[in-house]
């Protein structure tokens, strides 16, 4: 037990980024391996493609990071993403709402779904798993009801979100970066973010320290809903079409990205940067499997194995660091 002279040091400075975050190491290993296996992998264009393909998962996962840090779970993000996009396209196409308003309505829908989730969890005392599972059904169903089961064309102005800036830099990557920065700032700098860590770490201690736990859960799930709406809009913009069945199963990718990124499902841990790395690992993997022409059946096996390995690597690193 030594008393350090510099009590203001946040963490030992000698630690490298790699040692601190096992998922970064996993990403590096994956990138090196794919560069060796396929000559087409390590090109600027392909890496930008990976960025675009990671964008939707990453944005959903940023939202899920908030929830998972409070030791909750949000299974509804994929369905809420689809519903928000459908609402945007529908209000713009059928009701002739100007696209900026339609976009706001779509965001409001996402936030609304999150608030309902949080109300069921914080006041109705439902387990998050059940509350958001119910919302998954409701949001997916409403997307089908509103769209009558068919895709709706996105307003052209919004579809530019799927384009590139200067024919080069893809907008989805920019949106992902922006949402990532927002997530990082919320988590690190805001009252809501710090409260999420406290609630996830020990809800009772947080309550007895004067944190309004129920109110902060509303904020957390509303943020998750808002991020889901943005993800849905980006996804629909890339296709120029809002589809009721879009983003099915993406909630699991989002959760996987968050956990690969070093968060704990038991709460109190997680970072926006880690989540980004998690989403990139999934996207790099899928991209690489395509480039290497791995058979359809084996792809699922490989993805499962890599998810397990990435989390395992992180756990091992942390344990040896103790």
């Amino acid at each position: 037990m030594l008393v350090s002279t510099n009590v203001l040091a946040v963490r030992p400075t000698a630690r490298t980024l790699l040692a601190e975050n096992g998922s970064v190491a996993a990403l590096v290993v994956l990138v090196v391996a794919l560069s060796l296996l396929s000559g087409d992998f390590l090109t600027v264009t392909n890496l930008l493609n990976v960025g675009v393909q990671a964008a939707v998962t990453a944005i959903l996962a940023f939202g899920s990071t908030f929830v998972i840090i409070t030791s909750g779970i949000d299974l509804s993000v994929g369905a809420v993403a689809a519903l928000s996009a459908i609402v945007l396209a529908w209000t713009a196409a059928d009701s002739g709402l100007p696209w900026p308003l339609a976009t706001l309505v779509a965001l409001a829908v996402g936030i609304g779904c999150g608030l309902v989730n949080a109300a069921l969890i914080a006041y109705g005392k439902l387990p998050p798993f059940i509350a958001t599972l119910a919302m998954l059904g409701v949001a997916r169903g409403l997307a089908l009801v509103v769209s009558q089961g068919s895709p709706i064309e996105m307003p052209e102005a919004v579809s530019h979100l799927g384009d590139t800036v200067g024919g080069y830099l893809p907008v989805p990557v920019l949106v992902m970066a922006l949402m990532g920065v927002i997530a990082a700032v919320v988590l690190n700098r805001t009252y809501a973010g710090r409260a999420m860590y406290a609630i996830g770490g020990n809800e009772e201690a947080a309550r007895l320290s004067g944190i309004a736990v129920s109110r902060q859960k509303l904020v957390t799930y509303a943020l998750s809903g808002a991020f889901a709406a943005v993800a849905g809009i980006v996804l629909a913009s890339r296709l120029a079409s809002a589809q009721p069945q879009a983003a099915s199963g993406y909630e699991l990718d989002a959760i996987a990205a968050v956990v690969i990124g070093g968060a704990s499902l038991s709460g109190g841990k997680g970072r926006a940067f880690g989540t980004l790395v998690g989403a990139l690992i999934l996207a790099v993997l899928r991209n690489g499997l395509n480039l290497l022409s791995v058979s359809a059946f084996w792809q699922q096996v490989v993805i499962g194995v890599v998810i397990a390995l990435a989390v395992l690597l992180d756990t091992l690193r942390r344990r040896s660091g103790r």
């Binding site: 037990m1 030594l2 008393v3 350090s4 510099n6 009590v7 203001l8 040091a9 946040v10 963490r11 030992p12 690190n188 700098r189 805001t190 009252y191 809501a192 973010g193 710090r194 409260a195 860590y197 406290a198 770490g201 020990n202 009772e204 201690a205 947080a206 309550r207 007895l208 320290s209 004067g210 944190i211 309004a212 109190g268 841990k269 660091g321 103790r322």
Partner: protein, 502 residues
Amino acid sequence: MSQAREILRVEGLGKRFPGVVALDGVDFDLRAGEVHVLLGENGAGKSTLIKMLSGAYQPDSGRILVDGEPVDIRNASDAQRLGIATIYQEFNLVPQLTVGENLALGRPPRRFGFVDTRRMHEQARGMLDLVGVGVDPRTRVADLGIAQMQMVEIAKALALNARVLIMDEPTAVLTTTEVRRLFDLVGQLRERGVAVVFITHHLEEIAQIGDRVTVLRDGRSVAQVPAGTPEEELIRLMVGRPIDQQYPREASAAGEPLLQVRDLSRAGAFSGVSFEVRAGEVVGLAGLVGAGRTEVARAVFGADTPDSGEVLVRGRRLPGGDVRAAMEAGLGLVPEDRKGQGLVLGADIAENLGLVTLRGASHGGFVDRAGQRQAAARVAAQLGVRMSHLGQEVRTLSGGNQQKIVIGKWLLADANVLILDEPTRGIDVGAKVEIYQLINSLTASGHAVLMISSDLPEILGMSDRILVMARGRLVGELEAADANQDSVMALAVTEVEDARVH
């Protein structure tokens, strides 16, 4: 006492964690049929040592010998094979299962491939008889009292033919009667040749139960002395300096009433509780475990909603069940369950210290984290928290330092009235005195303290006034000058004699 056979020897044991040297050369030996007390402040290395003996940690240097042979204890089953059993403060029992199932865990008797429940319970009965505890093996562990759980743990260890029994602060959670029964049992085990490693913070227990004492300080073994060594000497060895006074209360003049509680009631917990705490005063709240003291504290703080009655801070009435309002009025609660309710164990020191002030340090939703960190550094230094840096996880701190963090977050918030629920439970002598001095400086600056404690000498030594609760009611009030252990106990057992049948 004759020189019995040596079972276990530890030589020059060392262990480092990132940023911390936990053990730095510990020597220790254990003979058959002796009770060897391990003494040391929290953080001195006792826990690390026993975790290495039980296979939870591996030493970085030094060696462990069993029966004169060097051994490598890599996990719990290695320890079990060598006959070493450890009884931690947190029991290793599955609360949802019955006592019998717990005792047979992992190797239940089988018949035709199914668990033979009848035989399992018969075997369990035999094991329980060994430790002399009359519990029905079919009882669920969750329904047992703490003392009974402890006995079940000991029975489990004996069933595994343990020759070395390590007990980590077994008496911390027991009542006086229960402690006496535990000591009887330990005495019998000693007769049978079992070697016992006994950790306690209660110095008076050492002479009663121990044979030899090894004192640890700052990760080193500094002395080995007979159990009859005077307490002052033991304290000096433990903290490295003499402590003049165990209870250094410096009374200050009582000022205006800061906290007034009027006729507070909550069904099933307490009723008609009225008292007041004045500025500069330490009011002790004594009583037996289960008398309703913690429940009163929680209701005053708004953690639970009372059914009737009122709480006033500086004459202003608080809404019931509203922690935020209580905080803003200047109340602070250091809860009894430090780890479960006081701390976010996985978060770092700065984060925990800033928990209460988080809201005040936010402007437009953004937290002034640099300011929070500086404030945390200031309080940590003021409290003398022993740590490697502010970013250290609170989980890795010793109990005393953890308690300083819980108190520190209320110091940062400048709470006027601090409710301390068992503030020194499981904390070593040195840290205790530091906390007492902190209480002194708080009251000297006009704060008020309401202190719940089951440690009678502490209540008597630190309080200006003593309130005594029994069965959910306030049964008496004593001036500290007039009170002694007998007068407090006499009140505490008022109309509760019938409830104490174990």
